[in-house]
Every structure is written in C-alpha cells, then in structure tokens.
C-alpha cells in the first residue's frame, strides 16, 4: 500500500513528508522499545510507535524506515518534526492506539518485518 493509504486507513494527519505519500510500504513494525526496532533485519518498513522522542525518528533514519506512524494522538515536538523533514522521513499521527492501528494495517495487507529472535543471539 502507499503511505497515503496508511494515512487514510488510520485517519492520520501528516506532520512531515506530505510530498512523499506515494511511497510504497508493505511491511510494518510496532514497537516502543527502540532496541527492538534496531533488531529488525530489513529496511523500508513502517514504524508504528507511541514514542515521540527525537530518538524515535533517528532510529527510523538509522533503519532506513519508510515512515513513522505515531499512535494514540501523540505528537513529537516541533524540532523533531523539523528534523524528520530534513532527513526525508514522513511522519504521520493517528488518534488510534497501537493495537488498533497495527490491526487495521495488518488486515489490509501490511506484513510484519523480519527481526532477530532472542534465540538468534549468540550471547
């Protein structure tokens, strides 16, 4: 689906990257613990998160994520939005909670990302 479809399905507003909504996305990751996001082993996914810190956007950047969807009506600070604009990372914000937002997107075909399972770690 496109980011614009993500926006429509979740009733989200666009905070950054309004010109990038034609981007295609077919996988998603829902997490608030940023190291869990960093354990994802692929790129180009939609990050669905309740974390609105600068690091949420930086993690999206480090992971080459397609975009970030903030849940439960949370909005990052203006400087975080500005940073995302500069980094070319679209930001969307929905009033829906994490479970509902992920459920809607999964139901419409967004698939989970691959990630390292605990048993994969050598330690």
């Amino acid at each position: 689906m496109t980011l614009d479809e993500v926006r429509e399905l979740t009733g989200a507003v666009v905070l950054a990257g309004g010109d990038l909504l034609e981007r295609q996305v077919d996988k998603g990751c829902g997490a608030d613990l940023l190291s869990d996001v960093l354990a994802v082993t692929e790129e180009g996914f939609l990050l669905v998160t309740g974390m609105v810190t600068p690091q949420a956007v930086r993690v999206a950047e480090v992971m080459n994520a397609c975009a970030v969807l903030f849940v439960r009506g949370k909005r990052p600070a203006p400087q975080v939005v500005e940073y995302a604009k500069g980094a070319g990372i679209p930001l969307l914000a929905t009033q829906k909670g994490m479970f509902e937002a992920c459920g809607i997107l999964y139901g419409r075909g967004l698939r989970p990302t691959e990630f390292r399972h605990l048993s994969d770690y050598a330690g």
Binding site: L33, S35, A122
Partner: protein, 150 residues
C-alpha cells in the same frame, strides 16, 4: 583480525553525558560520512545500528565519552570509550533482555536489554574492556567484504 590497509577516514565525536535530546547525532553523521565514501549500504546499515546503540549507552549510562570512527578499505571500526562507571559483569550485559536502565530511560524507549546484543549482531568483532569505577572501551569491527554480512 589484523587491520589491512591505510586509513581512509578518522573522526572523533565527543558524546556528552546528560544530553539525551542530542543522542543519535553521531550515528546520523557516521552514516552520512560512510555513504559519502561510497561504503557498501549493508555496511552503512550495520555501522549505523552499532553506533546508535553505543552512543545511547554512553549518553544514558556514563559520565560522557567519545566515539572514534576509522574507515579502512577492508573495514569500518567504531571505538566507544567513556569515563565510567564501568560494567561489572560483561557476560551479563551480553544477555538479550538484561538491562540496568532506570525508569526514566525506559520511559524514553530504552532499556530493552538489546543494546550490547544488537551491537554484537551487527559487528564482525566486538571487544569490550571495562573497569568498574574507571570506564568502558568497546571496539566494534565491521568488515567490508560483501560476504561478511551476518
């Protein structure tokens, strides 16, 4: 694994303590520099993750420190050093899920206990040296061979 070849780039980045809002900047800059040198995208991705986790560890848990980036033809090295408090049991911090993060850090999305494991998984070699009360030094090596991934 002995390093081969000359140094293409060496950069030092200070990481202050108690500057959580800025944490992550070094990782962004390291990725930008590596891309500019034409480093392979998979190596940039892995170095970005290693650097981010290491940077967060310094910013969240220590009295400040620094990150040194060294790029060679065959590898990228990231050296993290800090001024303490040091790690008492290194085997323990390598265990996925183990975390000493205080509540305030967990509220910011940290403390999953995956920091060191993620660094290990995205490095070809990760060496940790620590002395309680003095500090920790971590050397992460990411090989640039295209068959070196995982």
């Amino acid at each position: 694994m002995p390093a081969e070849g000359y140094i293409l780039l060496r950069r030092v980045f200070p990481v202050p303590a108690d500057a959580i809002d800025q944490a992550g900047q070094v990782s962004t800059e390291v990725r930008r520099l590596l891309r500019g040198l034409g480093v392979e995208p998979e190596v940039v991705r892995r170095a970005g993750i290693v650097c981010f986790e290491g940077e967060m560890n310094i910013a969240l848990y220590t009295k400040g420190g620094r990150i040194v980036l060294v790029v060679r033809p065959d590898r990228v090295e990231l050296l993290f050093s800090d001024r303490g408090p040091g790690i008492a049991d290194i085997d323990l911090v390598k265990q996925p899920g183990y975390s000493t993060a205080p509540d305030w850090a967990r509220e910011l999305g940290f403390g999953a206990g995956m920091g060191i494991p993620n660094m290990e998984e995205n490095s070809d070699a990760l060496v940790i040296r620590s002395r309680v009360g003095e500090g920790t030094v971590i050397r992460a090596t990411i090989l640039r061979r295209s068959d070196a991934a995982d």
